[in-house]
């Protein structure tokens, strides 16, 4: 597996085949005398913002806090990766997950209040 080519920035899909987001980051665990373990996938605005710069990461965190989102980044245990051929499929339900916090907020606070939303 080539982590940058096969995992990073790829579309993530949950158990329910819904789109979870993109893999914004990969967290490695460094261990003495052993090869680094691929520990987590990470997604969230803080994660991709940090890739541009620390200042953007701070903005992302502040924005999330302003809208009372619990987290600006979210980790999925790498052990939950089931497949990585076209998209990266993980053993997590998309809809209830924190990765969908903004989607749910916009759906409940804006979309559902408009006519013909369904």
């Amino acid at each position: 597996m080539e982590l940058v080519r096969d995992i990073l920035d790829k579309q993530l899909r949950g158990r329910d085949d819904e789109k979870l987001g993109k893999v914004d980051g990969i967290v490695l665990e460094l261990r003495d005398g052993k090869p680094p373990r691929v520990a987590f996938l990470e997604l969230g605005s803080a994660t991709f913002a940090r890739r541009i710069g620390r200042r953007f990461e701070r903005w992302a965190v502040a924005l999330n806090r302003r809208f009372h989102m619990r987290r600006a980044r979210y980790r999925i245990d790498f052990g939950r990766v089931r497949d990585y051929d076209l998209d990266v499929k993980v053993d997590v339900d998309a809809k209830p997950s924190p990765a969908w916090a903004w989607e749910r907020w916009m759906r409940d606070h804006i979309i559902k209040r408009l006519p013909f939303a369904k």
């Binding site: 665990e29 460094l30 052993k34 090869p35």
Partner: protein, 97 residues
């Protein structure tokens, strides 16, 4: 025991220097294998041009040259074993030898 974590996506494009301080290249890729039920990084790929994480004119130029008629292969990358790379300071990775 405190766990030490490192973000791979922030490591990309960082210059690797050898024990003498000479520039070797930039980190482009990490190869992982499944061992004893867990995925571990066995090798890093280090290329002369940074991965597209760092938008480098050199890489784009070279790639464009390959584009006009040539077969699209990227520049040869060096393989570095995991235990040859010192990542104690992730912003300044060094070769151990």
């Amino acid at each position: 025991m405190k766990r030490r974590y490192l973000h791979l996506e922030l490591l990309l494009g960082r210059e690797i220097v050898d024990a003498n301080g000479k520039r070797v290249g930039r980190i482009e890729e990490a190869i992982a294998q499944k061992r004893d039920g867990e995925w571990v990084v066995t090798e890093f790929l280090c290329g002369r041009f940074g991965a597209m994480e760092r938008f480098s004119i050199h890489h784009l130029g070279s790639a464009i040259v390959h584009l006009l008629g040539a077969t699209g292969t990227s520049p040869k990358a060096q393989r570095i074993k995991w235990d040859d790379l010192d990542l104690s300071d992730p912003e300044h990775p060094r070769l151990k030898r």
